[in-house]
Symmetry: C2
Subunit: 231 residues, 2 copies
């Protein structure tokens, strides 16, 4: 395991709004990012886009299967309906000890209904679906679902949002530490992975609020009364 | 309809922690409260308890069926497992135009499991179950699920929590206005009643956080980026 691999974060679906937003923020914090996409060309374009916005960004683009071998933490940032197929395409390239971050939300848009509604997922949540498909020894952690892609992408903004991180204790702690890279984000301990059922659904609630309050930049969430310095 | 009835709020299950907390806060704001319970005696005891803590409180205790006739807004604050039976006992005493507020949460404690997990409710949520049992013309609104009973009951505290209010537009607005009676509470427009599915589940998430962060007083929730003065 190289030092570079240890420090890097891979973002599969890093060409999409939310993935690109995280890539911008992580590179801006000096963290090397590997962008994955189904097509190498699109991944390279996204990397070029990041380099244009973040001076000195360490970022490169690869096809998903290759990208996921280049980092210890792999963030799955594909539309929910592509989650299972993406995972089946990369699972043989993942290795025990890697952390796979699920940020997908089973919005009803996946079946042509509206983004303010959720699909019922047999496993309970996108994160648990991912956990069911991940190879043994790869830890799945749920995070980042409630963070506005718009605000992530607008680099001058402080992103006023808590990130509820769920999963097994040790990998959860490691993903919680990532939140500190983005100004305004705060990690909150979300306990076991099954709590992703609730966290994912909050996204649908926020999307409805964005419409009702006309806040296209995205409403966020904060938890009050959380002791400071407790993460 | 008397003027007193128009101004009053009835709280069924007002002898429980959360109902009592609301009774204390509403009376402290000068709003007359009617406490309902299955037993008249217990309702009167709770009313006496409120009077002891809030000087000049306008509060009285009745059996549920009687209490719900004495206010236009009736808050259902009974344990989830008693929701249907309580409603069946009062439905013939409710009248069109009244607003019934569902604050119940289908925690798995109802079936002996833990309070950090939810039951699946056929109708989708406690609020929708209530809506299915309410007489025609009675509007059901979902609110107050995420507010800590502990903090409500501790009158010197400002309750740092947003209240997501869901239901039809007009009754929703009226329930949102109630939040202004409690220092710190802010109403957020939660859209259609079905969103109670998400809001109720947030309670289970908060209960888990209270344990992990050791905050028995209760962690709350705030939404960021909501335009001020928009409710």
């Amino acid at each position: 395991m190289t030092d570079q691999r240890e420090k890097s974060i891979a973002i599969l679906g890093g060409t999409g709004d939310q993935g690109l937003g995280l890539a911008l923020r992580f590179t801006a914090a000096g963290t090397p990012v590997v962008i994955g996409s189904r097509k190498h060309e699109r991944a390279m374009e996204a990397a070029e886009n990041v380099r244009k916005q973040v001076a000195g960004a360490s970022v490169d683009g690869f096809v998903n299967a290759e990208a996921c071998q280049k980092a210890e933490i792999v963030i799955l940032s594909v539309p929910f309906e592509n989650t299972a197929s993406t995972l089946k395409g990369i699972r043989e390239h993942l290795q025990p000890g890697q952390i796979l971050v699920s940020m997908g939300v089973p919005l009803a848009t996946s079946v042509g209904d509206t983004a303010t509604r959720m699909l019922g997922i047999w496993q309970g949540s996108c994160a648990e679906l991912v956990a069911g498909l991940a190879p043994r020894g790869v830890e799945v952690v749920s995070a980042f679902q409630n963070v506005s892609a718009h605000r992530l992408q607008h680099l001058p903004d402080v992103v006023e949002c808590d990130v509820v991180v769920s999963g097994a204790k040790e990998p959860r702690r490691r993903v919680m530490a990532l939140c500190g890279l983005v100004p305004g984000l705060r990690a909150v301990d979300g306990g076991p992975l099954a709590n992703a059922r609730i966290v994912e659904a909050i996204t649908a609630l926020l999307i409805g609020m964005n419409v009702r309050y006309r806040v296209p930049e995205g409403i966020g969430i904060r938890f009050t009364g959380v002791p400071s310095g407790s993460d």
